[in-house]
Amino acid sequence: MAAYIVRRLIQSALILLGVSFITFVLLYVLPADPVRQIAGRSATAATVESIRQQLGLDQPFLVQYGNYLLNLIQGDFGRSYLQKTEVAQLIVSRLPATLLLLVAAIACELLIGLPLGIVAALNRGKMIDNGLMLTSFLTVSAPQFVVALLLLFVFAVKLGWFPIGGYGTFAHIVLPAVTLGILGSGWYSRIMRSSMVDVLRADFIRTARAKGLGRSKVILGHALPNAILPIIAMIGIDIGLFMSGIVVVESVFGWPGIGQLAWQAIQRVDIPIIMGVTLVSACGIVLGNLIADLISPLIDPRIKLR
């Protein structure tokens, strides 16, 4: 187990190194020039050159990348070109909002998805099952921003129950979390349904029924605890999905997390911030997958760590 974790951690570090390299290459070769952005349109060639030198952007690619890595190892993500602040500081100040949304969103996904999956499994093949599965397809196919705007329109604009955007109180988090909850719920309900269907076919359920246990006891006491196990590992993978989709929801709802930070930085070609957020998100994805892989064998001894 310990050896496995060490190996996976080394692998994860290598993957992150690769992510940093590819992002760096992409940002280096792309036609946008951050110096022009900083200097403004009317800057003279001399000003542009001096800014370029100041930022070290006149150096060869490998030197730039090497310096970036050296700083990164010391926890230094560089300075934002435009905000003149440490990127690490910006990310740290934004991260709590994103993590809060992450927890709230996954809670919503589970709260919506799991009951629907269980109901569908118990009514397998009936109308209600088909209806719920169609619903799960709908949620998987819905564009994030359309759901976000729809919820905003109904619950913020028309009904006025929640604020249109922003951050601070419990009311602010409801709509973004529910948006993500609806979108992710289809995925959970389908996994829950198939897991529940498998468990309900198992011998120990037949035994429990044969013992004379009531339907609700069989379902809640025997089937559910076993069927829910695969979901736990899924949450790890879900963290990754969340991290890669955070930009849209945060910008629609004006949620001050790292997604919004990234979106603002992208528009201004503020490369250090883009790099930083990409790396932090990639960390989230890698960690999420690692957690999923570590939890699976604990839950189901048939799965072996390789």
Partner: protein, 299 residues
Amino acid sequence: MADASISPEPMAVPENGPSVLRRLARRKLAILGLLIILICVGGAVFARWLAPFDPYEQFFDGLTLEGAPLSPNENFWFGTDLLGRDLFSRILYGAQTSLIIGLVANGTALIIGTLVGVTAGYFRGIVGAVLMRFTDLMMAFPALLLAICLAAIFSPSLWIVAMVIAFVNWVQTARVIFTQTSSLAERDYIAAEKTLGAGHGRIVFKHILPHLIPTLIVWGTLGISTTVLLEATLSFLGIGVQPPIPSWGNIIFENQTYFQSAPWLVFIPGAAILLLALAFNLVGDALRDILDPTQQGRD
């Protein structure tokens, strides 16, 4: 001379052509999906004849006296947008954008994924290892962030958007194809072919690729849904297909300031995106059940 060649060998693919369609037709949800796709393709192909107005024309009577968009009425069925253009016509032409991107981006992703997956799975060795590690790496990339970044920095056009989407979407296919190819490459009949002196090209094209077709059909269908959603998202952020070319995503982007007073401008194109993505998901899922033997009896 030609007589020297061996008689055509039996097809490697099980004969499931007609039966697939028949089995698809038995699923209500798949029929619903096919119907939506048909309507959408019809709308896109015949947009020129079906559209009541020119999608680019800004009508003088297309705005209220205060300059606000018109709500749906008998003249403009879906209302008009912020510039007084007919929304229905723009939605029809927008279907072209979505489908072109869906096909081009997803086709490219499928080709890249297959190339990488087959090369890594069949040849293995250092090349295979490098390719698969690169795939792992791409899996750890925050995909949407990457796409947004690329699209924002390139000045976006229809084709660049398609390529950006292909660039982030090939990874899943590569993994699935890799797994399948590596298990196929271990089979006895492949070893037999090799002993008989068959070249790599012959083995890959005659004995590997045909077996991958069902998987490619399934992933090709499901992938279009992902692609349509990604295009819509990029266009919604203003970094996808650029106005005035209509795309369902950029119609929402352009009109979002009117979202409180003219919600149809957001929700009609939104519903179109949802329906198209749903349709390809429904059909793709049904195809997976039909074509993938391991999924059989699991529904």
